[in-house]
């Protein structure tokens, strides 16, 4: 159990790191676009890299934060049945846990396969300044794998593996995936 607890804390720390990276990427989008407009209209010197940089940063904003969103139980959902038929809450909770873990791990596995293919065939982004595609697409694998683990950890009824966050300590970490 101690090993599992250590791994859970490592997973939490990794999710915090991803979350901070996603937040920084969003700050980066604001900075890059503001710079682009400033140099384009005040210096008449548009950049060739602004749009593609923003595209890459957006992948990070979305997928590096997904595990954190799953940890919070903040994914958008329709809670008609759990709200109005309380007897179904527990079965539906476990359905979500199983479906969430299976689908996220499946998606992560598919994405990992694509990452490996991109590395093997040395695939670059189609851009003015091409970079290896897997540098960004790895975020998708990370996002789904991290989210899948959080779904799995919700099945822990002892509370030992209860999610924790150090960068967002004031936020409520949900126990129910449907909250």
């Amino acid at each position: 159990m101690r090993v599992l607890k250590f791994l859970a804390r490592f997973h939490d720390a990794l999710s915090d790191f991803g979350f901070v990276l996603g937040v920084a990427a969003l700050g980066g989008i604001v900075a890059v676009y503001s710079y682009e407009i400033a140099v384009r209209y005040f210096l008449n010197a548009p950049t060739k890299w602004a749009t593609e940089t923003v595209q890459n940063l957006l992948v990070f904003v979305i997928f590096m934060v997904v595990p954190h969103v799953t940890r919070l139980g903040s994914h958008i959902s329709v809670t008609i049945l759990p709200d109005f038929v309380p007897v179904l809450r527990t079965p539906l909770k476990y359905f979500t846990i199983v479906a969430g873990a299976c689908m996220c791990f499946f998606a992560a596995w598919i994405s990992l396969g694509e990452n490996i293919r991109q590395i093997q065939f040395v695939i670059f982004t189609e851009a003015n300044y091409p970079i290896p595609k897997w540098w960004m697409s790895i975020a998708i694998t990370y996002g789904f794998a991290g989210a899948g683990l959080y779904f799995l950890r919700q099945a822990d009824w002892t509370g030992t593996l209860r999610p924790r966050s150090w960068v967002a300590p004031n936020v409520h970490v949900a126990e129910l995936p449907t909250q």
């Binding site: 969003l26 407009i37 890459n56 994914h75 959902s77 539906l92 979500t96 689908m103 994405s111």
Partner: protein, 434 residues
């Protein structure tokens, strides 16, 4: 397998999964990954991974986090309080002035933030208690807040417009600008109906409310305090209309404007800034993971032949365009009462998009009507996110009170939709100028 079996089967599974309370992105993953295994096999996995990457790296979608961040900075810095005070001073001594204040404020907030929930939560906490304390009718007060909050996703900046525009492949700039006149029309309808209601039934508003007589200096100061916000609106909408910046770039400059405004009012600090960016990142991830997971739904529809067959069937139906329009808006109107707006929108857009070409509808006009219809779902009982936001902000209100407060404004919004349907220029005039 027949196309209609594939289509209806897929839709039925999606709706059932939605209702179980599972996250919406999971429901899409189940159907899409299942669909890939059935129709394409292993060969479809690469397509799935690529569709995730392509959606997540679409530059126009960078507007979504930037609009969210713009609203977050203005709300969290407390800058919106300045707007509240200023608009309060500018609303004259009219019977029912708090109703006027409520709708006017919602309209201005809608021009600064694309989030109906944020507007509802803020006014539900700040304005509603004042209205009740001063003897305003609780039901009508709640109704004006519900309706006012509904304007935020329609008047630019609007997050939903970015998603609709990207999925339907319509000019996002045109769609954003198209929301201005319909939003103002709806605000005018809500305001007129409320004032007429007060005139017909004076007990809805106190007779001698002390609004405080404003001097010319007060009015000038109020207008001056709104100037930084006018600059933000210009940075977002003005730059798009003038063709100086793309929607994403103008959203980024809007964020800079919001930061400068917060700094001007001495409300900019690191804690507020971190919380705003962090919350914007979380909201973006929540929305965009659904979008990224769902985009391949339209490709699967095409692979199974459902898209082409649906278009052919629509052509052979021979229904007049107005009947098709009523059908295409009526069905989601009912569904939006029960199902999350974003999830349903992501199912419907890939189905409707090819039909528009067959029917010859103007895409900007149709998607604006669709957007209003969808937003209407947010205030239509029994399930609507603005309804829940008002309930969260004003716990003492019963759900029945909120439900009964919404119906008048649901009716007014339907009237606005009929007007826009009959006079398309309301939606298409401003985009035609750019």
């Amino acid at each position: 397998m027949e196309w209609w079996v594939t289509l209806s089967g897929g839709l039925a599974i999606l709706v059932v999964l939605f209702l179980t309370g599972a996250p919406i992105f999971l429901a899409f993953l189940v159907v899409i990954l299942g669909g890939i295994l059935v129709t394409l096999g292993d060969a479809g996995f690469g397509m799935f991974a690529n569709s995730l990457f392509q959606t997540a790296s679409t530059s126009s979608l960078a507007t979504v986090p930037l609009f969210v961040l713009l609203g977050e900075i203005l709300f969290r810095s407390g800058s919106m309080d300045v707007v509240l005070d200023a608009v309060d001073k500018l609303v004259g001594r009219v019977r029912g002035r708090q109703y006027v204040l409520s709708i006017s404020l919602s309209t201005v907030f809608g021009m600064l933030s694309g989030s109906g929930i944020a507007v509802a939560a803020m006014l539900g906490r700040s304005l509603l208690p004042v209205m009740e304390q001063r003897g305003y009718d609780r039901r009508l007060s709640t109704g004006t807040l519900l309706a006012g909050a509904m304007l935020a996703p329609i008047i630019p900046p609007s997050i939903i417009v970015i998603i609709v525009g990207t999925l339907a492949d319509v000019s996002i700039a045109s769609l954003l600008i198209a929301g201005i006149l319909p939003g103002l029309l709806m605000a005018a309808l809500y305001l007129s109906a409320t004032l007429v209601a007060v005139r017909l039934k004076p007990s809805l508003a106190p007779a001698d409310e002390d609004a405080g007589r404003q001097t010319l200096g007060d009015v000038v100061r109020a207008v001056a305090s709104l100037m930084p916000f006018t600059i933000i609106i210009f940075m977002v909408m003005g730059l798009i209309i003038l063709g100086i910046a793309t929607p994403s770039e103008s959203a980024a400059t809007g964020v800079v404007g919001a930061l400068l405004t917060a700094a001007y009012y001495r409300r900019l600090n690191w804690k507020m800034l971190y919380r705003s960016v962090a919350e914007a990142a979380v909201i973006t991830s929540m929305i965009m993971i659904i979008m990224a997971s769902s985009v391949m739904f339209s490709q699967l529809l095409a692979f199974t032949g459902a898209t082409r067959a649906l278009m052919e069937t629509t052509t052979t139906l021979g229904l007049p365009p107005w009947a098709m329009l009523a059908l295409m808006l009526g069905l989601p109107f009912v569904l939006y009462m029960f199902i999350d707006q974003l999830g349903l929108m992501l199912i419907i857009i890939p189905i409707y998009d090819p039909l528009l070409k067959v029917l010859g509808f103007d895409p900007v006009w149709f998607w604006m009507l669709f957007l209003i219809n969808m937003t209407l779902g947010a205030i239509t009982p029994p399930f609507g996110y603005i309804i829940f936001a008002i309930k969260g902000a004003a716990q003492h209100l019963s759900m029945n009170e909120i439900f009964s407060a919404s119906w008048l404004f649901v009716g007014l919004t339907l009237i606005a939709m009929v007007l826009i349907a009959v006079f398309p220029g309301i939606a298409t005039f401003l985009p035609s100028l750019t």
